[in-house]
């Protein structure tokens, strides 16, 4: 149980996919300019990441390993993730067309969100079992969402700031991301085992 908490906290804070591993920058910058869109994206990413972690784990250990097809890992994981995103796209289109329009190109882009593929590959590399893999995926999604939502609130606050033209939008977003990553470096090397007394 403690072990699962460690994985959860580690993927949310210490190894945050956006700010520590620098994965998923595209949707992070792309959808963080509006708070409501960011919330929708956050929910979608958490969902896709946990589901992708589960499905890719099964693909790895029930398909690729028994058949000796380990070299197909990247291709098959991308395929699985793409199919999942398609599914979610259809669900969101049915349930909330407004959110669907707001997310626009970024929803299909979750397919190429390297953070999702990153979760899948890192789970295998760390040798997680099924439960650990799902927790790691959920934690990764929560961590990504946390900073995405914080970023959206930050950028909304800056809407009224007299920012020089050359820094408006994308450049400033990158500068803020860099500074957030600097703050998150405080967690680097965080000894979670010691915290939980392991």
């Amino acid at each position: 149980m403690k072990e699962l908490f460690i994985i959860l906290l580690s993927t949310i804070l210490v190894n945050n996919y956006m700010l520590a591993r620098i994965m998923g920058t595209c949707p992070f910058i792309g959808v963080s300019n509006q708070f409501d869109t960011a919330m929708g994206m956050a929910a979608a990413v958490i969902f896709v990441m946990s589901l992708a972690a589960a499905v890719t784990w099964m693909v790895q250990y029930y398909l690729l390993v028994p058949l000796g097809l380990g070299f197909l890992q990247t291709v098959s994981f991308i395929l699985v993730i793409a199919a999942l995103v398609q599914l979610i796209e259809m669900i969101i289109l049915k349930m909330s067309p407004t959110l669907y329009r707001a997310l626009g190109i970024y929803l299909p882009l979750i397919t190429t969100n390297c953070a999702v593929l990153g979760v899948a590959v890192i789970n295998v590399r760390e040798g997680y079992n099924f439960i650990q893999a799902v927790i790691s995926g959920t934690g990764g999604g929560i961590g990504f969402s946390l900073v995405l939502i914080a970023m959206a609130a930050l950028r909304e606050k800056l809407n009224t700031a007299p920012i020089a033209k050359s820094f408006q939008g994308f450049p400033l977003a990158l500068i803020i991301t860099a500074q957030m990553a600097m703050a998150f470096l405080g967690f680097s090397g965080f000894n979670l085992e010691k915290l939980f007394g392991l």
């Binding site: 920012i163 500074q179 680097s188």
Partner: protein, 325 residues
């Protein structure tokens, strides 16, 4: 920026923009930091004095240069750049090579403040952005800058320095235990102990903080909750709470940086959430992180979440219906 080009400007409330008060506040905070700065100069010797001058002067110079080159309004007269420079110098090691102080000030003023549109719009504490940037970029240069706090002896040595570990550094490396640290209380309180330039003397910082409180510049809410959270966690984890309160940059950070108007929440409930978060992160990084001190990181971390904290419990406009996205 280009408002004046449009001619007629109609903006929504609030219209209140008090520019007159800014220089006064900066002056008062600057004066309030003087006891700590003078203590640092006394204990650490000539390098500390050089770094303080380099910090203040370079920050003002960078601000002037950047605003001149980019043809912005030059705002050095509001005193914020000088204050940022002072804070950068105070949070850096006393005998760090002065080019580090100057570059930290450049990062603080440029990417830390001006790119956001200047004072009042920055989301991170500029001085801590500069300090953290330097600490992450040149860790060995910084650790070489921590010198013994010998007072008169340090001045007699002149520019030769004697390296010294900080109490939190010793705690991290396990050279001192978690308990019976009372022999550090005196040095930590008065300042004759290794550490950053302006953080070692608790009494000097508290005098400055009292001055700020009586001048009405800061309120007690954020610093008090921050300190209490840290002390409470220390007790919970069987650490020495007084040692944790007095050591490192906690007092400097709690009274002079966590209370920054621009980068802290405005609403009382938000301020409490912010301060509790600061306490948790500071203590956790000190205990379980790879860095000995977590004050700078935790203030930057909580700065990330200030707009989010402010959003929760935001007053709804009359008749507003929460629109479903």
């Amino acid at each position: 920026m280009d408002m004046s080009e449009k001619g007629l400007i109609i903006t929504a409330a609030p219209h209140l923009r008090d520019r007159v008060a800014t220089p006064r506040i900066m002056q008062v905070v600057f004066i309030a930091l003087m006891p700590a700065a003078l203590c640092g100069v006394y204990f650490f010797g000539p390098w500390a004095a050089i770094n303080l001058v380099v910090g203040v002067a370079s920050a003002v110079l960078w601000e002037y240069a950047i605003q001149k080159i980019w043809k912005f309004d030059i705002t050095i007269s509001d005193g914020s750049a000088a204050l940022t420079g002072l804070l950068v110098a105070l949070t850096l090691p006393p005998a760090v090579e002065p080019w580090v102080t100057a570059l930290a000030c450049l990062i603080a003023i440029g990417p830390g403040k001006i790119v956001f549109g200047g004072l009042g719009y920055n989301i991170f504490n500029p001085a801590l952005i500069g300090r953290t940037f330097a600490a992450l970029s040149w860790p060995s240069v910084l650790s070489a800058g921590y010198v013994a706090a010998d007072g008169i002896t340090a001045w007699k040595r002149g520019f030769d320095v004697v390296a010294s570990a900080t109490p939190l550094g010793l705690l991290k490396t396990g050279e001192i235990g978690a308990t019976s640290l009372s022999r550090f209380y005196g040095p930590l309180f008065f300042g004759n102990v290794g550490g950053s330039l302006g953080e070692t003397s608790a009494i000097a910082l508290l005098i400055g903080a009292l001055f700020l409180l009586f001048a009405g510049i800061i309120t007690l809410r954020i610093p008090l909750v921050y300190l209490l959270t840290t002390a409470g966690l220390a007790m919970l984890f069987n650490q020495d709470p007084i040692f944790h309160l007095l050591s490192g940059g906690l007092i400097l950070g709690a009274f002079f940086m966590a209370t920054d108007y621009v980068t802290s929440p405005i609403k009382p409930a938000g301020q409490i959430v912010y301060a509790v978060g600061l306490g948790i992160f500071t203590f956790m990084i000190r205990m379980f992180g790879s860095y000995p001190e977590g004050v700078a990181f935790s203030i930057l971390l909580m700065n990330c979440f200030v707009p989010l904290i402010e959003r929760f419990g935001a007053q709804k406009r009359f008749g507003e219906v929460r629109n479903r996205a």
